[in-house]
């Protein structure tokens, strides 16, 4: 996993790929005859907070699934920090430093919160049977270390008192935070968040966003998140990429994108937004 970097280090680092940490070119994914992702090309700058938006069925989550290795690609290419990733196994991509969360949280319900957290830490000699046998001391030491880090991280999200509870007993919002905290345990270079704000109350949401900003500033973590909450997108994203019908249709600052004709059409066309006097868009939703 990537070592900790500060914003200064990021700024000072030689610009590989022009500072682009994630690049995707003509990514394609189809199911039967339906092209959910139809030639998506985009790039994300290291240390940025980028929002990926678009009407329902635009292919955003499918795109996430393809570049993180959960779906097999049908075409295109992608690279992370200069290394090709398309078609690689999900766990390998995660280990490279690109970690994702899921739209429907995957808190490991029948495991305690603390176990969820400790699971995520990288470089655990105790996770290999060989390691257990040959380096039992190192394994135990690392366990202690991880436990400390986990409790620290849990306290940032006010989840510390729940450390020994089964994750399944947490509320929806708490589970979302747990998933984020858990993802952070992996010391990622980039986080792909799938609708991080969905289902959590504004206070918790604000805490999450504050933490995102802090992580970006202090550790140079890059964020790419799918969101439907436009307020969040407009106020917290450096850049907005808009997808519709499997492709990127707009890409720029929040201000630029909000007034982009094509973006408005895309949302109108799917019946998501309706302007007075405009005809009702046909149901496009995939």
């Amino acid at each position: 996993m990537a070592t900790e970097t500060t914003a200064a280090t990021v700024a000072a680092a030689p610009r590989r790929n022009g500072g682009r940490i994630l690049e995707a070119a003509e990514v394609v994914k189809h199911f039967g005859g339906i092209f959910a992702v139809d030639g998506t090309s985009l790039d994300v700058r290291e240390g940025s907070i980028t929002a990926l938006i678009g009407p329902n069925g635009a292919g955003k989550t499918t795109f996430f699934n393809v570049i993180t290795g959960f779906y097999r690609p049908d075409g295109g290419a992608a690279s992370f920090a200069g290394s090709p990733i398309l078609g690689r196994a999900p766990h390998a991509i995660a280990r490279m430093g690109m970690v994702r969360t899921f739209q429907i949280t995957k808190a490991l319900a029948r495991m305690p919160v603390i176990d969820n957290m400790m699971l995520a830490a990288p470089d655990q000699p105790g996770e290999r049977i060989v390691g257990l046998l040959t380096r039992p001391g190192a394994s135990r030491r690392r366990e202690k270390e991880i436990r400390g880090q986990a409790m620290e991280l849990l306290s940032v999200f006010n989840l510390e008192p729940l450390a020994d509870e089964y994750a399944g007993t947490l509320s929806g919002g708490q589970r979302k935070l747990l998933e984020l905290a858990r993802a952070l345990m992996t010391r990622p270079r980039m986080l792909l968040l799938d609708e991080p704000m969905a289902g959590i109350n504004p206070t918790l949401g604000r805490r999450l966003l504050d933490h995102m900003q802090r992580l970006r500033a202090e550790e140079g973590v890059t964020f790419l998140f799918i969101e439907h909450d436009m307020e969040v997108v407009m106020n917290h994203a450096d850049r907005v990429i808009v997808m519709a019908e499997g492709r990127v249709i707009a890409d720029g600052t929040p201000e630029k994108v909000r007034t982009d004709r094509r973006v408005i059409d895309a949302y109108l066309g799917s019946g998501t937004v309706r302007e007075a006097g405009a005809p009702e868009g046909g149901a496009d939703g995939l």
Binding site: A89, R95, V99, K106, R110, P122
Partner: protein, 333 residues
């Protein structure tokens, strides 16, 4: 039918047998053997979430490779030292486990179950038909002479502490159970490690584990390899107990009884396996003595009908078994 006792059951069903320590020692050995077998199933089903219906196949490979390596086949007169054949047979069985697992672990749960039972049956049929290697239906014997001397030694120790007339198979009973307990403890310890934690996560939600950088496939493969090892060890004990290896000892009913024991004791409980095995075998064999006006074959059939009914009823009303927790039963659909 398997679960055969070392003597012909036809004349075993008498009241004298009920109090015969030889008989119950045999039952105890069977129970211990099945503990080892089912520990493997528990690792797979209870702790990894894979439905391994091929455990009897691993048992067969363990038993046969031990027997063939020791005797050199039906025509042979000795090949490798018995004690050396044991670790070799584990290696061979694990190799087969990997051979089966590598291509089939990516399949869905129900397909994997079919693949593993197909593998186990293929092993059994191979053993049945490859007569020059395995002796076919006649089987193999004469591999246990080294064990016999160990057994005598143990008997000597028992005599020296005052018990002058232990049942013939008592040393085997001791060894089986010592091994079973050691394995149970080892597995329990393994479960409480970071390795065990990843395994639990894989069982809980494979994709979540993957998203955190864990190679779920590798862990499932390791789980299968461990089950294969345990199956092989159980195979040795079965072979030594009968003094004989034969394909009919490895029919699918063996795996199914293992599952019955697994469920009885409860998923995700290694000590539950011991409980389940003891309860199952003592009841199952104990049923022989119920005085009913039925023929031999009817009593035998009835016992298996009861096994089936217990399996159905447990699944319907108490799927977590006697010691498991309810939530443990739900396998990701």
């Amino acid at each position: 039918m398997t679960g055969a006792l070392p003597f012909d059951p036809v004349f075993a069903v008498t009241f004298e047998s009920f109090t015969d320590p030889e008989f119950w020692t045999s039952v105890g050995i069977l129970a211990g053997t099945y503990v080892i077998l089912t520990l493997g199933l528990q690792m797979n089903v209870g702790y990894t979430g894979i439905i391994n219906f091929g455990q009897a196949g691993f048992m067969a490979i363990g038993a046969y490779s031990m027997a063939v390596l020791t005797t050199g086949g039906p025509e042979g007169d000795g090949l490798i030292n018995f004690w050396l054949s044991l670790p070799l047979s584990v290696l061979i069985t694990v190799a087969f486990g990997l051979l089966v697992g590598l291509p089939s672990l990516r399949l869905r749960a129900d397909y994997f179950a079919i693949a593993t039972i197909a593998f186990a049956e293929a092993v059994r049929l191979f053993a049945l038909n490859a007569r020059s290697l395995t002796g076919g239906n006649q089987g193999l014997f004469g591999f246990a002479t080294d064990w016999d001397s160990v057994s005598s030694t143990i008997e000597g120790w028992i005599n020296s502490i005052g018990w002058s007339d232990p049942p013939t198979l008592f040393p085997l009973l001791l060894v089986v159970w010592i091994v079973a307990v050691i394995l149970t403890v080892v597995l329990r310890l393994l479960q409480n490690t970071p390795w065990g934690r990843v395994l639990r996560a894989v069982r809980e939600d494979e994709d979540a584990a993957r998203a955190l950088g864990k190679n779920a496939f590798a862990y499932k493969l390791q789980s299968l390899a461990i089950a294969a090892t345990l199956g092989a060890i159980a195979g040795w004990f079965l072979a030594i107990n009968l003094n004989f290896v034969n394909p009919t000892e490895f029919e699918p009913i063996v795996t199914f009884v293992g599952f019955g024991i697994l469920i009885l004791g409860g998923l995700a409980s290694y000590w539950g396996v011991t409980f389940g095995a003891i309860v199952f075998w003592f009841l199952f064999e104990g049923l022989r003595f119920i005085d009913l006006p039925l023929e031999e074959v009817q009593i035998a059939s009835l016992r298996y009908v009861i096994v089936g009914l217990v399996l159905i009823l447990l699944m319907a009303f108490r799927p977590q078994g006697l010691f498991g927790k309810r939530e443990e039963m739900v396998l990701g659909d």
